[in-house]
């Protein structure tokens, strides 16, 4: 069996002195959408931040296609093919949509324009607003800019931190179906979601974290069908 695209092996770490993650392990294989769910403060976002080098790692290893990438700089991680969409502050509000996309390709020497064209095909509403400042867009459109910006470098794996947070239910569905489309185009996704049920519906597998530890992992369909999981983690 070939190595998973992304792997967290027994990762512990945190921000200050105290650890938030206590030996979290998870994998993302080619073609998969993997969702991390769990109660508030379980370390879901921290797990994603650990991958992108934003967390102090005290032990364990993060591997991309089998290679250890623990502790690499942001620039190197992007160069290796990891893209990250933070939950908040994920667009440059005073820059136009197009400039946001252009800067998404900052680390690449290739011409960014053809790729931006592909992004506009993926998100038609952005094409109409390419000259508009990103800060003036609706929440859903802004999320499209954020995801589009992350896709500019043609990532090998996409990290989404609560992409539907703060969006109206209609936009939540839109963003999740966009995630599903991106995945169908061949990009594996590791996603943290508060809307666990909807997220699992588009996911292949799910992990449930509690107190910075793995609690449960299974196929998304299995997690959705389990009554105990539904009651404890999916809001009944």
């Amino acid at each position: 069996m070939s190595a998973p695209v992304l792997e967290l092996a027994d990762v512990s770490g945190g921000y200050g002195e105290a650890d938030i993650l206590h030996g979290v392990s998870l994998t993302v294989s080619a073609g998969e959408i993997v969702v991390v769910i769990g109660p508030n403060g379980a370390g879901k976002s921290s797990a994603i931040k650990a991958v992108f080098g934003l967390l102090r790692i005290s032990s364990g290893e993060i591997r991309l296609a089998g290679e250890n990438i623990t502790g690499l700089s942001t620039e190197k991680l992007i160069g290796r093919g990891i893209s990250y969409v933070p939950q908040t502050g994920n667009v440059f509000p005073n820059l136009s949509v197009e400039e946001n996309l252009e800067l998404g390709a900052y680390t690449s020497d290739e011409d960014w324009r053809p790729r931006a064209g592909e992004i506009y095909d993926m998100f038609p509403p952005l094409a109409e607003r390419r000259r508009q400042a990103a800060g003036t867009l609706s929440g859903g459109e802004r999320q499209m800019v954020a995801i589009g910006r992350a896709l500019m470098v043609k990532p090998k794996v996409l990290l989404l931190d609560e992409p539907t947070a703060g969006l109206s239910p209609a936009f939540q569905d839109d963003i999740l179906s966009i995630a599903s489309d991106i995945n169908a185009s061949g990009v594996p996704i590791l996603m943290v979601e508060q809307n666990a049920k909807q997220a699992l519906e588009i996911a292949d597998r799910g992990y449930i974290l509690v107190d910075g530890r793995n609690r449960l992992e299974d196929a998304a369909s299995v997690l959705l069908s389990r009554a105990d999981v539904a009651e404890m983690f999916l809001g009944g």
Partner: protein, 296 residues
């Protein structure tokens, strides 16, 4: 009419151009490093003195002196950033502001030790007659100062709107955190900001000295109107700073025009007070500056 244009409007535009060049740098440095750069005025003084050997020694045109000073001042600014600001970058930005105050004093003292405190001039003795176009009388240097300031402002505009480096600067001004997550090398953007800010300040300093004379308090006296211009344009907005600079420069000169009767409206001795009054008024009534909306 001709009096108004020749003795008030043109000098106002000259002064405004000098303020604008300084204010663009203050505004950019604030938007990217998030601190008020109090050493900006003394950086201008330093540039004026650095140009002295080029203009007086080599006998070159003051514009050549300005270019040379821009280069040298940029190097100095990068050096100061390395030893002065970089070590405290992670600390609250008030620390950087205080460092800049100390650096302002150090630059000024170094100039006083190096060049002495006597006033000096780029033009030793000879007086160049002004150009006359019918009733319009204008000093040749005033044309150079206004024209080159316009060119530099256009260059800043092109940098910010057309180049990847300029867009990275604007991105960092929007969100330094996201800029870093996008893989933008933030320290390199900071260095570029210093080079742009220091170069513009250097040119402004040489222009100010060219229009008057060199003295070690030259830039320090320019600092207040430059901050007024920066605040007027909205702190962190280079385009606002351009307008702000011109408005403050014009306001200072036009306030001494005999609008009512034959006496100056405000005695020329109180010119700086005009900039200060505008700054206070803006801080009270429009603390975000004159312009709403886009930052830059």
């Amino acid at each position: 009419m001709y009096e108004f244009v020749n003795f008030y409007l043109i000098p106002g535009l000259v002064l405004g151009s000098i303020y604008a060049l300084g204010a663009i740098g203050v505004s950019m440095l604030f938007s990217i490093l998030r601190f008020a750069h109090f050493a900006h005025g003394d950086m201008m003084t330093l540039a004026a003195y650095l140009a002295l050997p080029v203009v007086v020694g080599l006998g070159l045109h003051p514009l050549a002196g300005a270019a040379a000073a821009a280069l040298m001042t940029s190097v100095v600014a990068l050096g100061i950033d390395k030893v002065g600001y970089q070590p405290v970058r992670a600390r609250p930005t008030i620390v950087s502001a205080m460092v800049s105050l100390g650096i302002a004093l150090m630059i000024r003292s170094a100039i006083q030790v190096g060049y002495g405190v006597k006033t000096q001039s780029y033009t030793t003795g000879q007086i160049t007659p002004p150009l006359r176009f019918d009733w319009l009388i204008v000093q040749e240097r005033h044309i150079w100062i206004i024209a080159s300031s316009m060119v530099l402002m256009l260059a800043v505009h092109l940098l910010l709107s057309r180049t990847r480096a300029g867009k990275a600067m604007r991105a960092m001004s929007d969100s330094a955190e996201l800029a870093q997550l996008t893989g933008i090398p933030t320290e390199r953007v900071v260095r570029l900001t210093w080079v742009v800010g220091a170069s513009l300040a250097a040119v402004a300093g040489v222009f100010a000295a060219w229009d008057t004379f060199l003295q070690t308090m030259l830039g320090w006296f320019l600092l207040l109107p430059i901050f007024a211009a920066t605040i007027l344009g909205g702190i962190g907005r280079p385009y606002g700073a351009m307008i702000g600079g011109l408005v403050i420069g014009l306001a200072e000169e036009l306030s001494t025009y005999p609008w009512l009767g034959t006496e100056p409206l405000i005695s020329p001795g109180y010119k700086t007070g005009v900039a200060f009054a505008i700054m206070v008024a803006i801080l009270i009534f429009r603390p975000h500056g004159l312009f709403k909306g886009r930052v830059f």
